[in-house]
């Protein structure tokens, strides 16, 4: 039997029964009332609607195993039913069966306008048959008044399988391999003694002048390393830069103060400053209390620094590391006492405030570049060079790509398909 769907069979049966009744009624009424409009009761009405509003099924159906996945998914796609335009399609139903003869059960539905569905409940290795049906209906209070369905042919069988490589991600694979290879190459090149050029960074160039200014004025330098602990790369970078600043200060015999908010940072900072003093041959000029712990608490730390600034009026202030909301309070006070301020952070939300309130700001990556430049650590230098390689590739790709695209040749899809 062709109508293997019980539901459909009953609809057909009812349709036949009711439409014959309808014809009978029509005949009687026309013979009694002449050519007047037929009078049809509400309940009977729906079945004529069902026939009249039966939508054509969608066309051009394709059923495929979902590529590049772990199996268990089959993708069904179609072109919209010709009846979609005249509003006869409200939904598409995806019907599925393990055998060609059925029974077909609903595997899923989509709203109109959608042209694909992924059946995620397809067991691996089992062949499935699919039909896609356009559905038209009317609803009242969430209940169906009537439903009418146009079914497509049967497609299949299709088995879902697990793949060993996600082909859709080939471009990403090639990209990451090239980038990683470049980074590794440059790291090992740096380790084997190759030296790399790093461009001037404005904030770092100015360190000498800023320290000199403090010396001239006979006032102290303050170095604020942010409020994160040593596990933050920004704090690590800040410590490297502190070493440089402290060396200049020691050379000029200018006092440098480092108030910190973490005990571990205090230990490291003390080491950096002590080393700087002994490097220039003035180990005796270093005092333990130059690096001191204030408090772990964010606003408490800010308030304490505020007080220090107002009392001691430093000539130069460095704010380099991980900063949060306290950045504003510190930078404002530093500004109000007329100090030269050099800031640096990779915290995107604080950067605008630093730029607006400080004389020089190391922006994001510049902070890390500065620390690589100052520490000359091969792994940092190599990474920086590797990243630059990546940037160069992207820059060239943008130039070539924009030209090609402007002439109508697609290029961006090699990076990412949208």
């Amino acid at each position: 039997m062709k109508f293997n769907n019980l539901f459909r069979f009953s609809v057909l049966f009812r349709f036949l029964l009711i439409s014959s009744l309808l014809i009978l009624l029509l005949l009687i009424s026309s013979s009694v009332f002449g050519q007047d409009k037929p009078v049809v009761s509400d309940t009977l009405n729906y079945d004529s609607i069902i026939t009249a509003s039966k939508p054509l099924p969608p066309v051009d159906i394709q059923v495929k195993d979902e590529p590049g996945d772990a199996g268990g998914a089959i993708n069904i796609s179609w072109k919209p039913s010709p009846d979609e335009k005249n509003g006869k399609v409200k939904e598409y139903l995806i019907l599925r069966s393990k055998s060609k003869s059925g029974p077909f059960k609903e595997a899923g539905n989509t709203t109109v306008g959608v042209t694909s569905y992924t059946d995620n409940k397809a067991d691996i290795g089992v062949g499935f048959y699919y039909k896609v049906a356009s559905l038209n209906f009317d609803k009242e209070n969430g209940n169906y008044l009537w439903k009418s369905m146009g079914e497509s042919e049967i497609y299949g069988p299709v088995k879902s399988t697990a793949q060993w490589f996600n082909v859709k991600r080939l471009n990403i694979f090639i990209g990451i391999i090239i980038l990683c290879a470049a980074i590794i190459y440059f790291i090992f090149a740096a380790k084997s003694g190759k030296s790399f050029y790093i461009r001037k960074i404005a904030g770092i160039e100015e360190v000498e002048n800023a320290v000199g200014r403090a010396t001239e004025m006979g006032r102290a330098i303050y170095y604020i390393p942010g409020i994160n602990d040593m596990d933050d790369v920004q704090t690590l970078a800040s410590m490297t830069i502190l070493g440089r600043v402290a060396t200049f200060a020691a050379e000029n015999d200018t006092r440098i103060d480092v108030p910190v908010s973490r005990s571990l940072v205090m230990v490291t900072a003390k080491e950096m400053v002590r080393e700087a003093y002994s490097k220039v041959g003035r180990p005796d000029s270093f005092h333990e209390d130059q690096v001191r712990y204030i408090t772990d608490d964010q606003f408490g730390y800010a308030a304490a620094i505020d007080g220090l600034f107002v009392r001691e009026k430093p000539a130069t202030i460095f704010m380099i590391g991980a900063f949060f909301a306290e950045s504003l309070i510190i930078a404002e006070t530093g500004n109000s006492i007329g100090a030269i301020q050099i800031a640096g952070t990779a915290m995107p939300a604080q950067l605008p405030f630093f730029v607006a309130a400080c004389d020089y700001t190391l922006i994001g990556e510049e902070l890390f570049a500065a620390s690589a430049y100052l520490s000359r650590e091969p792994k940092l230098l190599g990474s920086l060079k590797g990243q630059d390689f990546g940037k160069a590739v992207f820059l060239i790709a943008i130039i070539i790509g924009v030209i090609l695209e402007s002439f109508g040749i697609p290029f961006s899809k090699y990076f990412m398909a949208h």
Partner: protein
Amino acid sequence: MGFWGQFGIWLAALLTIGIISFLYKDNFLYKACEAIFVGISAGYWFVVYYWDNLYKKFYLQVTNHDITTLERIIPWIGFVLGVMMLSRLSEKIGWLSRWPLAFIVGATAGLYMMIYFVSNAMAQVASTIIPVFVGDWATIIANFFIVAGTFCGLIYFFFSKEHKGAFGLASRVGIWFLMITFGASFGYTVMSRMSLMIGRIDFLFGAWLGLIK
């Protein structure tokens, strides 16, 4: 609203004013509110992590009899790693905590490496590669600025070449774009902070004092 509801609102109002009082000066009320904040937030996250992570992801898994034995054993590895984390409290066996730490660092590194490379590098480069001279004047100008701004901005963050000549000019244009970006962030940050304060004022005037509807 019962007694606890009313009491809650008065308590919340007192704490709100306590924090705001810092604007006048650092005082005992602010310090007390801050201490409560530290204690409450530590306790809050402690409880939440217990129920959401430890209970759901471990206890419920290992006591679930609907899954295979292997699936029941797997979560124990996580548990053991977690306990090793506590070894940090002791000086002697503190090195054991490096194992779970290594796990966490490795997992985030592996995941983020791909996620960021795909979404923030490849996808963003792809969407910068657009035909520039298409559409009306406004679109052409906008597209041109987006391409040029991204290009010059990247050049500013290019460290292994001296910023001289055309390269230096591009990098200068790049920093201009970055500055406009920071200006936009500045404006939005102000908007955000003000909204929060508006929310608190709404609470004080509305829920607490009942001055506004």
